[in-house]
Symmetry: none
Subunit: 399 residues, 2 copies
């Protein structure tokens, strides 16, 4: 499908803004029967929905709860099941590690093993991030022949391991047996070409065991999600768009960089992001702008906090519209219903505004209202072709 789109792209001067509210979709609170979007006062989003084509996005598949990686790949037009990104790579992107083609990244956990080497806690009691930082310093002294090694702390018990060198392969099995009472598994090569990398990964684990032997409670590591940077078609080339990402959080900058967008320097607030959007307006055709607060509140199970985050976002909508985008998209990468206190599988509201978006009966930007929109319930990776069409940037297919 990306090849069909690419073959139809024509140039134009139209400008596109995609506002992604992380964890946008929600669920009704039992006592009121109204979701976060139905509870919030959102006059600007309501006005926009009334003029826009609305619908619901499903990012991966029916009933499948998207992580932030597949959620955003869907928004960018990549079918998440066709373009899978390993957990090690996502973890590296999440700390904005400068992962390069050929690098092999794995997600690491500090864990606890007993005297016989059997796992007693797969997360070492979720040690504090400061402890994680100190332990990764021990692991950074490990040297392996022919490769450069990076061990980067993440949050709590998590870290990223990156191997850099010639001829590496990420087709490796994980060491986490997923149960307590068993010893960590050896890394196995999942293809013959990965044998040398498996030897290196096992050597790393052996060294890590030695260097953590006197540490408590985290005296061992588990590695999983080995992978390399995927060879994704580059967003600016597929769509013929000068594309920029504006995101305060490293994970989303990393995902945008993964598809070849320019990642703009911005401040830590959404107001800063909108300022960056205004300042860079002339330099790009497409802007991906990320809003994190909705997801944070949803993941905390903070219904009122999510309502407040939505209302704060709504206040910024006029500033974005004042820039005069030709196509304005509002959606998100996945649901984070407060009643689930985590990501959800529910389809996520979407609106596409342009002069050519068509007649639509929807006048509110809610899960329930958008279900009756003219965009229907659609795979997220169908959104970008519709956005491109609204920007008058696609030629006719067939005579």
């Amino acid at each position: 499908m990306l090849d069909v789109i690419r073959s139809l792209v024509v140039s134009n001067t139209t400008k596109i803004v995609m506002l992604s509210l992380d964890g946008l979709g929600g669920l009704p609170r039992p006592d009121t029967g109204r979701s976060e979007l139905e509870t919030a006062r959102l006059p600007n989003l309501e006005a926009l929905a009334s003029e826009a084509a609305c619908g619901l996005l499903r990012h991966v598949g029916p009933g499948i709860t998207p992580g932030s990686g597949p959620g955003h790949l869907g928004l960018f037009g990549y079918e998440p099941l066709a373009y899978q990104v390993g957990r090690g790579v996502l973890e590296a992107l999440g700390i904005e590690f400068d992962l390069r083609p050929g690098d092999v990244a794995a997600r690491g956990n500090f864990c606890t093993v007993d005297a016989d080497g059997r796992i007693t806690d797969r997360r070492a009691g979720r040690i504090a991030t400061e402890v994680c930082v100190r332990l990764t310093e021990r692991l950074r002294t490990i040297r392996l022949p022919g490769v450069e090694l990076f061990v980067e702390p993440v949050k709590e018990h998590r870290f990223v391991l990156v191997l850099r060198g010639a001829g590496l392969s990420g087709r490796l099995s994980e060491t986490d047996p997923q149960v307590v009472g068993a010893p960590p598994l050896p890394v196995r090569a999942l293809e013959p070409a990965a044998e040398p990398t498996a030897v290196l990964a096992n050597a790393f684990v052996d060294e890590a065991r030695r260097r953590l032997a006197d540490a408590a409670p985290a005296n061992m590591v588990l590695l999983r999600g080995f992978d390399e940077l995927p060879a994704l078609p580059r967003f600016p080339e597929v769509y013929g768009l000068r594309a920029a990402a504006i995101a305060a959080y490293p994970m989303y900058r990393g995902l945008a960089r993964l598809v070849g967008m320019d990642v703009l320097k911005t401040g830590g607030s959404f107001a800063d992001e909108v300022t960056t959007l205004r300042e860079q307006w002339e330099a790009y055709d497409f802007f991906f702008v990320h809003y994190k607060d909705t997801d944070k509140a949803g993941e905390d199970g903070d219904f009122d906090g999510k309502v407040a985050a939505l209302e704060r976002f709504d206040g910024h909508v006029p500033d974005v519209r004042a820039l005069g985008p030709d196509v304005l998209v509002v959606s998100g990468d996945h649901a984070s219903p407060s009643v689930l206190a985590g990501h959800g599988w529910q389809p996520v509201p979407v609106l596409v505004w342009s002069r050519y978006c068509g007649a639509d009966p929807v006048t509110r930007f809610t899960e329930r209202a958008c279900a009756a929109g003219t965009l229907g319930i659609m795979p997220a990776h169908h959104l970008m072709p519709i956005v491109m069409a609204n920007a008058l940037r696609l030629a006719k297919f067939g005579a």
Copy 2:
């Protein structure tokens, strides 16, 4: 999917009428907020929509604007991305040229080149059709070894070139460099078996250059969209239907012939087409009836003209219903919103009426109303299986 359908077909005596309004879908006019369908007075279509199952059809893919070829193939049940038809073939169908299996057709442009053979105008200033006719007469005198040659004028600067003979292949590159200032490109074979055809095509171009040398402003040709008739499954065989097409315009007769329908002789107006339908009622199970006026007005950007075309069509609906079809379908091959003055990517309203079409909340035949219909927003090639089911012409799948 066609194979599944074919395996389920059972015979019946039910009659199906598919009315295709070319360029049916529209967009709201900014000053009223109402589309052409929402502006027109359509009492007969409203009555029909109230009794029918409604929805929206997407012919090629999200955001993709269908040409007439892919648009109609979708209506006939062929997935347009799986059954692609080259521009040369579509152009030949558009003038109802009797293209035969093995023929190679190309779309030709008369263009202007300077003394060094470099293109100065890719369309020779869009010469008048009469000039085109005279120039094709010069080209018709060209003789090439072992093949029969047809050069047929189309409109303005366009013509169709057809090579007929044994062992030809349409896997050829185009000569249009797509830029001014460069000379036409030689035709290259895209597969080894196409080498002899490439030699013939280049010989034609050389002869054409000679014969047009003293013509102005059109003194050269460009060829593109080389292709052969695609081997499409035949509509009457897939669906077990005696199928007839009633269309005043050659392009739509050509498309119907491409899938194996009988093309009925009819007059130039839609009233003539309805008369033909009535006269041929007993001889066929399936009638494809084409209405052109909606597209013409839409492509001209004539909102009021399209409203009037819709209202004229509505006046014919009772005559069609009076024939007593078992299944009556109303839809179109693509949108032609007047505000775009051309084809659009927007999904197109569809209604399916039968005794078994099911309860549906839709009471108006408009883009906005049909979005809430029980057919949903569906690929156009899903329509024919639904039509066949409503005609009680498909057996159960599985025991």
